[in-house]
Amino acid sequence: MSLQTDKRDFSERTLDGLGDSFMRNAVGSAQDSLKTRRLSAATTLGDWEQWRNVGQLIRQHTLQNLDYYLEQLADNVEKQGGHVYFAATKEEASSYIRDVVVRKQATKVVKSKSMVTEEIELNRVLIEAGCELIETDLGEYILQMDDWDPPSHIVAPALHKDRRQIQRVFSEKLGYTGDETPENLAGFARTVLRQKFLEAEVGITGCNFAIANLGAINLVTNEGNGDLTAAIPKTHIAVMGMERIVPTLEEMEVLDNLLCRSAVGQKLTSYITVMGPSAAGETDGPEEFHLVVVDNGRSDILGSEFNEALQCIRCGACLNVCPIYRHIGGHAYGSIYPGPIGAVITPLLGGYDDYKELPFASSLCGACTDVCPVKIPLHEQLIMHRQNIVQQRRTGAGDRLQMKAASRLLSSPALFGRSLRFAHSASRLMSKRGRIVRGPALIHGWIHARDLKQPVKQQDSFRAWMEKRKGGAEQ
C-alpha cells in the first residue's frame, strides 16, 4: 500500500462511504466513545490547555532544531552499535530496508503497525523480494488477511469491519472454525501470531518518537506486538518520519501522555517502550539495529506555511470529532491518513494532482483544531490549501463559474434580495414536499448527503417579516 489507497474519484469514494450503513454506525459510535474517554483522561491531568501548550512548545522547538536533534540521535544510535540511514525518498527507504533483509537472508518478517512504512510501500517491496511478511497489530492483521484492505482510521485501522466479516476472513484464509466473538477471534490470532514472532528473522516497527540524547526509539502500543517484534527477531529495523523526534525522555513523557489520552482516552497505554540496540550481556532484543529516517516530502513542508502540520503526533483525535469523517468514513479520503489531519498532510505529501478535493472535505467547524493536543491549526491549514488550489486554478471551470456567480450575488445585497423573490417559484420544479430533490452543479453536490429546504415564498420570507416588523415599530 502507498499513501494512496484508492484511485477512484473522490465523489465515488464518498458515495461508497455514505452508502455503507455499518461503517457509518461503527464510526459514529467509535467517535462518541473515544471523545468521551479523551475528555475524561484529559481532565485528570488538570490544566489540559497548559499541557497542550507544553506539547506545542516541544514540537515547535524540535522542528526548529530538527537537523541538530537528528544528528544527535544518529550519533547516539551509532555509539551503541546501531545503524542509521537517512532516506530522502520512499524508494531510498524501502530499498535500504530490502537490502538489509536480503543481506540477512531473512524470509520471515514480522511488522508492527506503522503508517510511515505504508507510505514507503514497504510491504510490497518485501513481498516482491520473496519474504513472508506478517502484520502483527490485530487490526492490521485482519486487513492483511482480507487481501490488504486499506485502513480506515489512524488508531483503529479495521474500524469499518464487523465481527462477522472478520470471522469469514479468518475462516477462509486461516481455517478458523470458532465463533464470531471478539475474544475468540483475538485468541485465535494470538496463537497464529505467537508462532510468527518466534520464527521471524527480522522485525520492523515504526517509531512514535525517537529520543535524541538516548539514541533510542519510543513505541506506544496496547497489544504488545511492537515489543515482541523488537525483542525476538535478531534484526530490528525501525522506521521513522524525520519529524518524529524529541530531545529527551522528559519531552517524550509529555507527548506520550498527550498521545495516549487523545488517541484512546488512556492515561498511558498498556505498553510504552523505549528501545535501541541491545546492550552487552542482554540476551534478547536486536543483535542488529537499523533506524531509517524518512523525508519523503517532509522537508518541503518544513519552514513553509504548513510547517505546523509536522507537529502531528498521529493521535487521531481530530478524526474522532470530525463531522465529515463521521459521515464518509476513512476510505473516502483515499489516503492512509484520513480525517482532518489527512486532508492537510495528504496533499502536502502526495500533491494536489491527486488530492485537491480533500481540503474541501471539511465543515471548517474548527472542532479538529480545538482537540489537537499539539495545537495544529487544522481548519486554518485547510483554508490555506483551498486558497492555493483556487489560486492555482485547479478547480473545474464549472466550479469557478459558479463561485464567480455566487460571489457576485452574495456581495450585492440588492441583487441577493431580488433573487430571493424568485427563489421559491424558480425552485418549484426541483422540489418535492418542501425539499429540493434535484438540481444542477452545486445544488446536486449538496443534496447528495444533506437536506436542502426549498426557499420559502416571498411573503413568508424573513426579509418580508422584517419589513413588517420595521413598519410596526415605526408606527
Binding site: 545503524h83 485482519i142 485468541g187 504488545g224 515482541l228 505498553y271 546492550a279 540476551t283
Partner: protein, 224 residues
Amino acid sequence: MTVSSNKEAFLNTIASKLGRERKTHVQRPVIQDLIPDSYGQLTNDDLVEILKEQCFFIHTQVIESNPEILQRTLDDLIEANGGGIVMTSGDSRFEGYGLAFPEAFVWEEAAGREANIKRAESANTAIIFADCALAESGTVVVESRPDQGRSLHFLPAHYIAVIERQRLVLRSTQAAAAFNRRIQAGEPVGSSINFISGPSNSADIEMKLVVGVHGPLRATYVLI
C-alpha cells in the same frame, strides 16, 4: 552514495529549508516548570490508594502483601494462574526476600538467547520486581538487563510484578526525569525501558476491549 554523505545531505537540506546554517548547539526549553501539578503533596499511602484505584480500570489485580508473607502470596497467585512453569528475572531481590519456586526458570545471560526466549515462551507465569511504579497510570517500570530480558514481560501468559512501596512515584513525569538525570550523567540504562500498565489488550474488533492479545492475559501487582 555512502550512508554518512547521505546524512550530511539530508541534514543540510533541513537546515536550508529552515533558512539557516546547520545548528551545532541548542538550548532545550525548560518544560518541568510549565507542567501543571494537579495533585499537590501526596504521601506514600496516598500513592497506594491512587494506584489501587487506577488498577481497577486497567484490569489489573493489586494484592497487598509484606516481605514476611511474600512467598506465600506469590505461591497462591501461581496456583490461581493454574500452576505450571514460572520464570523470574535474575533480580537479586528474589534472593534477598528468600523467594524460591519449585518449577522455575531464571532469565540468565549464561543461558543465551534461544534458551531464554524458549523458557519464557513455555512459562505460564512471569514474576519480576519493578524498578519503580507509577501510581497515576498503574504502571510498572522495568529496564532490560543481562538478568532480565525484554521478552520476559511479554511471552508468559500471566505477569506478576512485585512493587516495593518506596519505589512508588506519582506519574511518568517523575520517572522520565529520573531516567534523564541518569542519561545526562552518563550512567548506563537498559537498552529497553518498559512502562507496563496492565495486561495486553486490543479494541480492534468492533471497538470491544479484549484483554490479552499478544502479551500477558492477566497482570497482577503485589505491593510490599
